[in-house]
Symmetry: D2
Subunit: 350 residues, 4 copies
Amino acid sequence: MFFASDNWAGAHPLIAERLFQESGGFASAYGTSDLDRKVEAHFRDVFQHDVAVFFVGTGTAANSLALASVTRPGGVSFCHDEAHVMADECGAPEFFSGAARLVAVGGAHGKIDPADLKAKIGRFPPGAVHQGQPTAVTITQASEIGTVYSLDEIEAIAEITRAHSLPLHMDGARFANALVSLDATPADMTWKRGVDILSFGGTKNGCWCAEALVFFKPEIAKEVPFLRKRSAQLFSKSRFIAAQFDAYFKGGLWLDLARHANGMADELRAGLSASNRARLAWDTVSNEVFAVVTKDAAKTAEERGAKFYDWPVPAETPDLLGDNDMLIRLVTSFATSKDDVDGLLACLAG
Amino acid sequence: MFFASDNWAGAHPLIAERLFQESGGFASAYGTSDLDRKVEAHFRDVFQHDVAVFFVGTGTAANSLALASVTRPGGVSFCHDEAHVMADECGAPEFFSGAARLVAVGGAHGKIDPADLKAKIGRFPPGAVHQGQPTAVTITQASEIGTVYSLDEIEAIAEITRAHSLPLHMDGARFANALVSLDATPADMTWKRGVDILSFGGTKNGCWCAEALVFFKPEIAKEVPFLRKRSAQLFSKSRFIAAQFDAYFKGGLWLDLARHANGMADELRAGLSASNRARLAWDTVSNEVFAVVTKDAAKTAEERGAKFYDWPVPAETPDLLGDNDMLIRLVTSFATSKDDVDGLLACLAG
Amino acid sequence: MFFASDNWAGAHPLIAERLFQESGGFASAYGTSDLDRKVEAHFRDVFQHDVAVFFVGTGTAANSLALASVTRPGGVSFCHDEAHVMADECGAPEFFSGAARLVAVGGAHGKIDPADLKAKIGRFPPGAVHQGQPTAVTITQASEIGTVYSLDEIEAIAEITRAHSLPLHMDGARFANALVSLDATPADMTWKRGVDILSFGGTKNGCWCAEALVFFKPEIAKEVPFLRKRSAQLFSKSRFIAAQFDAYFKGGLWLDLARHANGMADELRAGLSASNRARLAWDTVSNEVFAVVTKDAAKTAEERGAKFYDWPVPAETPDLLGDNDMLIRLVTSFATSKDDVDGLLACLAG
Amino acid sequence: MFFASDNWAGAHPLIAERLFQESGGFASAYGTSDLDRKVEAHFRDVFQHDVAVFFVGTGTAANSLALASVTRPGGVSFCHDEAHVMADECGAPEFFSGAARLVAVGGAHGKIDPADLKAKIGRFPPGAVHQGQPTAVTITQASEIGTVYSLDEIEAIAEITRAHSLPLHMDGARFANALVSLDATPADMTWKRGVDILSFGGTKNGCWCAEALVFFKPEIAKEVPFLRKRSAQLFSKSRFIAAQFDAYFKGGLWLDLARHANGMADELRAGLSASNRARLAWDTVSNEVFAVVTKDAAKTAEERGAKFYDWPVPAETPDLLGDNDMLIRLVTSFATSKDDVDGLLACLAG
């Protein structure tokens, strides 16, 4: 009953097998092999657009390089207050960006509020040398709290970035989960809505270690090969990442895996909604579920081997919990089984 | 006939298989799993010493974090002029170190000359605020040109670093190749000779992607967890690195693979030495061989599918080549076959 | 009628004269002259404490070096949301600190709220590698909006920093104005209340260009000589700063100048309080005054040559202004005359 | 008898006086005053070219910002092995440039050898991601050892930088000394010979603290306002720098001062050349003189109060000194008197 995070899973058998098959033979190193080229081309097919693709090792690397690629002196990037880049990357985005700043933007349900974004950008008027200069906006899809920007919501953010000539980055550590939730195409959810740069995550959705930094305007990525190498993210045997993506895309495996994870989360949502002993803390639509449960139920679950994290009560809902309640986060993945979901629900929702 | 680099090989079957086996199940993320712990303990056994171990994704990351972990404002690190940190890492060591400088030290055969090291350190007397301050010395074992520091040579460098209270780092991207060449123990070649920090490379010797940063004085590594995370080198599914090392160490596989690679290089060396049409450019003892061959022979080899790199003539031997000669680098690996060696020698050495 | 900022003034005649007198002769460079030493010793007298003193060129440099001197990887410093380091230094603190982050803390009247500070620090528990690690707290005395921390309020912040073993920095760009407002000694307002590092500003209070970074625990300043030189803040003719401070301290000139500036602000405050056409936006006690005035009055003042800045309405008092009102900032200095104050009041307060 | 460095002098009376006069009144801050504008325009007159001018506090700041303004990821700048940026700035150029590297180029007499420059640039072919990418070349005029590039020599360097599309920077800490030595115009010695960016130093030639970063292609300086502010080099009372330059340029004072300094050096050169007890170590033409003197003579001079520095023997002339000899550097300035020159010669040259 592992619901702590989708990165507690290993690798999907088809991906692990593909990697194993690739282990023999020789190929040119540092991202120059035929397989690297083939998989990069596959990204073009998936997104129906010319792209510059850079394989990297972690989502933090992808996000940080994305922001670094467009930074300028005194630069500030705008992200949601709870974004991974702000809350969970130990300052890597700032470090990769040569000390640029992240500015927190508010917004309900883990998503940037366009009005607040406009206000925050407005604090940095052009040429205001004491304040600094805006360089990018980054959104997280799916968000850190299980919600998903609608296509219109992405477009609304993009209108603001276009108006300020700012690139729009999407942290897609859980890109596939958002995509199947919206039933959209990769193109729909990205460049067609104004996204310029994408951190495309494979690790949380069934790969060992496969992240890609995708630029929909390749001409702005000219310095990225140097940025990537300088940040030690150019892998000599780069095809071990490419091979994972090769299997990931094959036959739409990546979408199947995301559908499975989201489906398991749907089961959790249904079970919790139907319960008298637990309830959903807020609506989510991807593979993350936030539940208000009794401390006793949580304790029982943990005693039976369930793994999940306590979660801090959001500032916007201070009265979320009763005295005997706690808020927990449950994350499903490609590897989550119906048995585990049922077992957990038996503990929590009784 | 792949002799371009040891990183053109894939992964050894036992390592690839071990990784495949690990793909199922769940484990806590970010380096906290039981397997991570087990493999860290294995490092202690291998080195017969308490160590702090940090898995990272690339050799560049290991080297750069090593130097970053001991840097100070205005810091300078000393390395051989041809060291990987100087010549092949796109400034990553300086970037990770907050803009510290690398100072080139001369020395024959790819190894730091102790006298020149002393002289170079001497340019930075204590408190010389205009010049900066020494912070580390780094040596490469095996060196970039196939040579290996003897244990006494390491000790001679360490005497200097001790005298200046500087940490001594070893870039061990080809640690195993050097080790079996010297027939020494890991302890002999490191902390017993004054090495404080080691970049322990597995990738070039049969892993997909497995590098470890090893501190023999764990107390100086207190900031490294933050440094590693901030540089995007903390992998969520860290056990995909641990699993590779698990197989790498099992039954001494790592030493067997290095012996094989060195042995294949021995065959090359023997064949070239016996030839009238080619010769060794200089003596090497690890898995790298540098040969002076005729341009015709090189062309023939390439036409038959051999892969290798031209190499620039060292400044210290400007007259190395005749008019029809060229200098090439040949690198063997765990995956090099006797047939390939024989095939290449047939082309080059006739 | 110059009320835009205290840095619109030039230099006080006694300071300008002292600098002129110093222009002859020769002295050793880079902060090693007898005059540098003498003035450093004067700082010890002023603060009744052993100090390490570093002259620098700007307040931004002093603040940034202060935070840089205590930073660590993944480091975060805590400041008020409106602090100069956050709002007006173009990311210099982050840049000098190797990409460390500033975290905004709330608090009424431009001063850090201790409860919020505790909460914000609490988000970075020890060893939380994904979040980063606290490295310093910085307060501004006098604050950016004209208020001043009482000695007890400083002590309350210091209790928190001590509990977390964090150094406490004070941005004293308007140190003298705060000091005379509190009628305290320099020791009272700093190390006796737990301040570890001080940016001691002379520029806004009558110097041309004289800022000092003061450490009350000299042992933590060992890297600062290198930090200062590396950030291009070590002046060859350092005694041109020292000479200014020499005159600044002589006979308590610095306190007289601050008393004058505060006194002129008192006149403004009195005039505005007594007016029917204008009012104080909030209480201030140093040389800054924030006034709600009619747009007509402001226009009249500007037409008569008055210089001041519009100021954004604070989020905590959204209803501050009527339809015809505006919020302005008025800053006095050593050079402000009673005539100018009266002239301005005639325009604004009628 | 102060010959240690030209920065041991104070300020020329006309410059000190001009600064004193400026001390009254009010003016807008941060480089926006009328005086700032006027002096910037003066730079345009002096150089007969449109320029973007940025006043900064130190030569290290000017040099570091110059290189930072054109840096890119993995960037390397090329400078003479003995350049100030390499030898005397504690890594500031690298720090300001976000960890870019300086690559040392050889050349006799303190000047870059064009052939070696070509060779060094050649190590960084376009797209060589492992090596990094060239971003600038910087030359020092006058050089650190008292020599001066002829106009043709500057042109020869510029041909190389143009061929590689690299900006050419000139460190002009002793610009005026070089200029009067060549009897050239400012335009001749800079943009007419291909110089793109200039660090224009006033401090060593009679100012307290006046350095300017000058761009001859203003369009490449668009980020410099942010770079300067972020590095804490934007002075609130910027006109204290502008006022110094105002006097510096007035009536050609700057050229007179440099002529005086060079003339005093000429006297030293003449006296040493005529001596049996001392000799010139190498030919110089600016305000620096390097002399081989007997240890006894040096001791005598020091006992009589002379100040100068020992200088290391250049690697290219290992046999420069006899057993009883030492190499010393003598620097003259606007403040050097004929009496002091005669007094020193009496000690050294007998």
